[in-house]
Amino acid sequence: MKHVRTIIDKEWSEVFKNRWVITTMTMLPMLFVAMPLVMLYMTKSSLGVDLPAESAGLPGGFGAACAGMTASECTQIYLLNQFMIMFMMMPLMIPTTIAAYSIVGEKTTRTLEPLLATPITTIELLAGKGLAAVIPGVLISYGAFGIFLVGSLLLGLAPGVISYIFSPIWLLGILVLGPILSIIATIFAIYVSSRVSDPRVAEQLSGSVILPLLLVMFAVLAGKLVIDVKFMLIAIVVCALVAFGMLHLGTLIFDRENILTKWK
């Protein structure tokens, strides 16, 4: 565990000196917090008269969520869905950026060999690098979500919308699924970065882990999918299994010789 801490400390002192990493880590949360808050503020009473929810012309699946709401409130919930899914991209994108720079950086500075010559185990090394990417991703998205929650309370929204924001769906999604997605994204990024030599390319390639999330978002947009607690729980279980599988595979693939000779 001491070795893992040393690696995390080293990653943070190095990677946080990188301007692009810092930009990603600050701009992304600011954007993702500001956008939904602005949206909620703008749509608060944009429809003027409160028509029944059915007249908002939203995909049928929203009927249940919108029961007893006005059309503008229902529109807010519809839009909130998109923003919440976007919110869940944060724990994916931040670790991806950090991991890409950390692995590719190690290759360009040629520090892997001296590092692997120390008594550190490869598991400790990968865990250190992984955690160095996952922890900031999770902490930042928790923080951003907290700010968003406080902000939404200050906007004076309809009680139905507030209770939707605070519903278990999104708490599970961001507090539980988020970290799991972070782990998946990080392992994927470590794997991709070990094969390429440009951190930007590594970042873009590993960024492709957000594709499934985009698919979910489009399905929701098209009214083909309504995210409820059951969906979230299933997603959590499936993603946790994927994460475990990837961790296991990682420990099989990455031994010392492989890291030294194949990470080029």
């Binding site: 001491k2 500075t109 520090t111 001296p114 120390t118 185990t121 000779t261």
Partner: protein, 314 residues
């Protein structure tokens, strides 16, 4: 301290066996405690591969080795704790300070008093003043010194130096060489690869000339004698033809050649024969001005070995 038996590394390049690359072929050698051992060979000879195997970085394809009393492949963590390695291209974390770079490695090596060790090596290698500067601003020589410090931070008994002076300016090379000499007096075992023969000759107790296989192994002086015998040159005021026969008749002398006013004598034991030769020459009326031994450089030995190995393979 280091023992290998039939150590072999084959790199798989493609799927087929014909394309396999034998980097190290059946290496058997032994390096004693406190010895400075020079591992000489041209580029691509397999020196780095050997060092990587002996430091537990890559697995041998076959063969066994014991390093610092531990079995390679079974007790690698113990080996790592007891060996230091200066890698061929020693990278540093460029954005971090010299001090931070060393601290990270001291912690990874579980050094008991991290700060003390870091400070000790920073000052020992003359980097104390620059300890808070990021390594990105360091010259090549300073980086190499820092890399040497890093390889020693856990006080290893055995130090592997992979081409420690290649690419350094003469001054930085000298610093590194002086430091190796100092380490030698501390009783550490040093295994250094190099293609700088001059350096090997000055620093190493024994050298192995290596190209995929171990071609020869001995002290530089013995190698010289084995390869070329010994030659002594006698400078005379003038050489009279009769003296050549005279000297050739002395016991222990193999061959005599007259070149201008010099006589070049090949002989087995100069310490024994030189006084007799001088005596004979003086008795015959020669004016002996200087006597000196012709030394073959290690370079000549090396070139001879490597070239005949390549001829053998062709």
């Amino acid at each position: 301290m280091i023992k290998t038996q039939g150590l072999t590394k084959i790199f798989k390049i493609g799927k087929k066996q014909e394309t396999d690359l034998i980097a190290v072929d059946n290496l058997t050698l032994e390096v004693e405690h406190g010895e400075v051992f020079g591992f000489l060979g041209p580029n691509g000879a397999g020196k780095t591969t050997t060092v990587r195997m002996l430091t537990g970085l890559i697995r041998p394809t076959s063969g066994t080795a014991q390093v610092a009393g531990f079995e390679l492949g079974k007790e690698d963590t113990n080996i790592r704790r007891n060996v230091g390695i200066l890698t061929e291209s020693p990278g540093m974390y460029e954005r971090l300070t010299a001090e931070k770079n060393l601290t990270i490695f001291a912690k990874l090596y579980d050094v008991p008093d991290v700060e003390k060790s870091v400070n000790k090596y920073l000052s020992m290698l003359g980097l104390w003043e620059r300890r808070h500067d990021s390594v990105g601003s360091f010259s090549k020589g300073m980086r190499q010194k820092l890399a040497v410090a890093r390889s020693l931070i856990h006080e290893p008994q055995i130090l592997f130096l992979d081409e420690p002076t290649t690419g350094l300016d003469p001054e930085a090379s000298k610093t590194v060489r002086d430091f190796v000499e100092e380490l030698k007096t501390e009783g550490r075992t040093i295994f250094m690869t190099t293609h700088n023969l001059d350096e090997a000759e000055r620093l190493c107790d024994r050298v192995g000339i290596f190209q995929q296989k171990l071609l020869t192994l001995d002290s530089p002086a013995n190698l010289r004698d084995k390869m070329f015998g010994r030659k002594v040159v006698f400078h005379l005021r003038e050489v009279q033809p009769a003296w050549v026969g005279l000297v050739a008749g002395i016991a222990g002398v193999d061959n005599v050649e007259a070149v201008g006013n010099k006589m070049v004598v090949s002989l087995r034991d100069p310490e024994e024969s030189n006084p007799k030769i001088i005596n004979a020459l003086v008795m015959a009326g020669a004016d002996v001005q200087f006597v000196g031994e012709i030394k073959h450089s290690l370079e000549q030995i090396y070139l001879e070995m490597v070239q005949s190995n390549e001829r053998g393979q062709a």
